[in-house]
C-alpha cells in the first residue's frame, strides 16, 4: 500500500484532470467536437495567475477568477473566429481537428515568445505544511483540492440552477428544439466554449502553486484529460469527474510501484477498458 502522501498527490492530479475533463465534455456535448487546444488554455491560465500574483500582487483567489475571465474570453474568440466556421455544414470533422491542433503550436509559440521557456514557480503563495501526525500535507495541495471543489460546486449551480444552465442542457439534448424555444444556439456554443476554457485556465492556475508554469505544461494534462473523458464516456459529465479521479489516483499509485512504466500501464489499462466497453463507463450505448 503506498503511503498517504502518494494518495494526496494523486488526489491533486485528479482534481486537475477532473476539471479539465469536465470542460472538455461540456464543449463536446454542445459543439460536438473535441477541443484539442484545451491543454494550452490550461497553460495560459497558469501564466495569467502567475503574472497576476507575482507582478500585479493580486490575491490568489481573485487572480484565479481573472485567469478564468481572460482565458475564457480567448476561448470565446477562438470559437467565434475558428471553430464556428470550421464546424459549419460542409466541413468534415478533420478540418476542425487539424485547426485546434494547429492552435496548440500557435499558443505554445506565443507563450514561449511572450513569457520565456523557463519554469516559473509560485511557491510564495500559501507556504506552510499541515501536520497530520505521521505525514504532512502542504497548504498548497489542500488549496488545490479546496479550489477545485469550489469550482465544481459553482459549475453544478450554474448548470442546474440558472437560466443559462437550463439553456445549455436543453441545447445539448435537442439543439433544434432549444432554438425553437428561443435559445440562441450560436451564443450557447460561444458561452460553453468560454466556460470550458475558463475551467481549463483555472485548473492551470490552481496547479501553478504546486508545480511550476511553463509553455509546454499543457501537453500531458491534455492527453490525460482526453483519456479521462473516454474512460468516463464521451458526453457524460459524471463520467468526466469519475474518469479524472480514477486517472489521477491510478497514475500516482502505479508510478509509486513501477516508476517510468506507469504511463504505459495506464495507457494499456485505458485501451483494455475501451475494448471491453467502447462507450466508456458512463456513456450511453451506441445506437
Amino acid at each position: 500500500m503506498p503511503p498517504a502522501g502518494i494518495w494526496i498527490d494523486g488526489l491533486v492530479q485528479s482534481c486537475i484532470y477532473m476539471t479539465m475533463a469536465f470542460g472538455m465534455v461540456l464543449v463536446f456535448s454542445i459543439l460536438g467536437i473535441l477541443n484539442w487546444t484545451h491543454g494550452q488554455f490550461y497553460m495560459l491560465g497558469g501564466f495569467v495567475v502567475y503574472y497576476a500574483v507575482t507582478a500585479a500582487g493580486i490575491p490568489f483567489p481573485l487572480s484565479l477568477l481573472i485567469s478564468g475571465a481572460v482565458v475564457g474570453g480567448l476561448g470565446m474568440l477562438v470559437e467565434k473566429v475558428v471553430i464556428e466556421r470550421l464546424t459549419s455544414p460542409g466541413y468534415g470533422i478533420l478540418s476542425v481537428t487539424a485547426a485546434t491542433n494547429a492552435l496548440i503550436f500557435f499558443f505554445e509559440g506565443a507563450a514561449g515568445m511572450g513569457f520565456g521557456l523557463m519554469n516559473k514557480g509560485m511557491a510564495t503563495v500559501l507556504p506552510g505544511v499541515l501536520d497530520m501526525g505521521s505525514f504532512g500535507v502542504s497548504y498548497q495541495k489542500i488549496a488545490v483540492i479546496v479550489f477545485t471543489l469550489i469550482i465544481m460546486v459553482a459549475m453544478y449551480i450554474v448548470l442546474n440552477l440558472t437560466k443559462v444552465g437550463k439553456a445549455i442542457r436543453a441545447t445539448s439534448q435537442e439543439p433544434d428544439a432549444a432554438s425553437l424555444y428561443g435559445v440562441s444556439v450560436k451564443w450557447v456554443r460561444v458561452i460553453i466554449m468560454g466556460i470550458g476554457c475558463a475551467l481549463a485556465a483555472m485548473a492551470g492556475g490552481v496547479i501553478g502553486i504546486v508545480q511550476s508554469v511553463n509553455p509546454f505544461m499543457g501537453r500531458i494534462p491534455m492527453i490525460m484529460s482526453l483519456l479521462a473523458v473516454v474512460i468516463g464516456g464521451l458526453g457524460s459529465l459524471t463520467g468526466a469527474i469519475v474518469g479524472g479521479i480514477m486517472l489521477g489516483l491510478l497514475n500516482s499509485v502505479i508510478a509509486y510501484s513501477i516508476s517510468y512504466y506507469s504511463e504505459v500501464a495506464l495507457f494499456m489499462l485505458v485501451i483494455i477498458l475501451l475494448l471491453i466497453r467502447p462507450q466508456g463507463l458512463f456513456g450511453a450505448a451506441p445506437k
Partner: protein, 347 residues
Amino acid sequence: MIIGRYYIDHKSVVPKIVIGALIALVAIFPLFTTNMVTLSIIILSGIWAIAVMGFLLILRTGQFSLGQAAFMAIGGYVSAILTVKMGMSYWPSFVAAGIISGVIAFIIGIVVLRAGGIYFSIITIAFGEIVRIVAMNWESVTQGASGILTHAPESLTVGNLEINFAASVVPYYYFMLLLVTVSALFYWQIDRTRIGGTFRSVAANPVLAEHLGINLMKHRLIAFTVAGLFTGLAGAYYVTFLSVMNPLIFDLWKSVQIMMMTIVGGMGSIVGGPIIGATLLYTLGIYLSRVPIPNIQYLVFGGVVVLLLLVLPKGTGLVDQWGKLWRRVFGEPEDFQMPGEEGMDEE
C-alpha cells in the same frame, strides 16, 4: 463523419503533360544544384509525404490515426538496432523495418480497430505514447534519450556503376524518389481500383457497407497494415538520412503534423495532396526554424495552418485548388463542370 463527398477530381483540368514535366523536373533536380541543404529539405519532405499518404489511406476507410509517427519510430528503431547493435547491413534491415512495422500495425489493428471513430484516434495516441515511453526507458536496447547513432548505408553496385551513400547526398535523393514512387504507385493502385472504392463505402456508410457484405474490419485492417508498412520504411530511411534515432524524433506532435499535412494538402488525391501538403508544411517549418527569434516558428506555423484551413473552401485542400488555379490562369475548357459541384453550393 463527412469525408466521402468532397473528392473533387481535377485531373481532367490540368493536362497530364504538365504533371509529367513537373515529375521530370524533380527527377533531374540534382543537375541544377547539389546543395546539401536544399536537397535534404526535398528528401525529408518526400519521406514525410509517404507517411502522409499512409494517413490518408487509413482516412479513406473513415478512421484517423494519430499514431502514425509511432510507426516511423518503430521502423527507425528496427533498422537502427539491426545495423548498429547486430551488425546487419543496411538494406536487409531496411526491408525488415518495413515488415516488422507492418506486422505490428496488423496486430495493433486487430485490437484497436474494433473501437472506431474518435476512440480509435485516442487509442492510437496512447499507442504512440507507449512507443515513446518504452523507447525512452528501455535503455539496454534503445539507448534511451541519448539515442542510437547510425551509419550510412553500404554502397550499392548496379552494373558497373557504384552508388556511394557516404560520399554525397545525391544517392539519398534518388533513393528517396524511388521510395516515394514505389509507395505512391502502390497507394494509387489501391485507391483507384475496386478496393479503394470499398474503402470509401466503408467510410461513407459503414452500416450499408456491412449489409452489402463488405467486411468492415478486414478493409480497415488492410488500410492500416499497408500504411504501417510504408510508414515503417519511411521511418527507417528518415533515420538513416539523419544518422541518429532518439525517442524525440517521432513524438505525438509529428503525428499531429502528419494530420495537418494531409488536411492542408487536400484529401482529393491520394498522391498529389500528401506530396503538396508535406512539401509545403515541411519546408515552411524548416525556413521558420532559421528565424532567430525563439518560438516564433511554432506561432507562425500554427497560425499559417489555421489561416489556410479558414481560407480554403469547405473541406478542400491545396490540391483541390490546383485545377481551379489552372482554369483561372489558362482559361476554362468549354462546358466544364467539376464532378460533384452541383450539390456543393446548396448547403
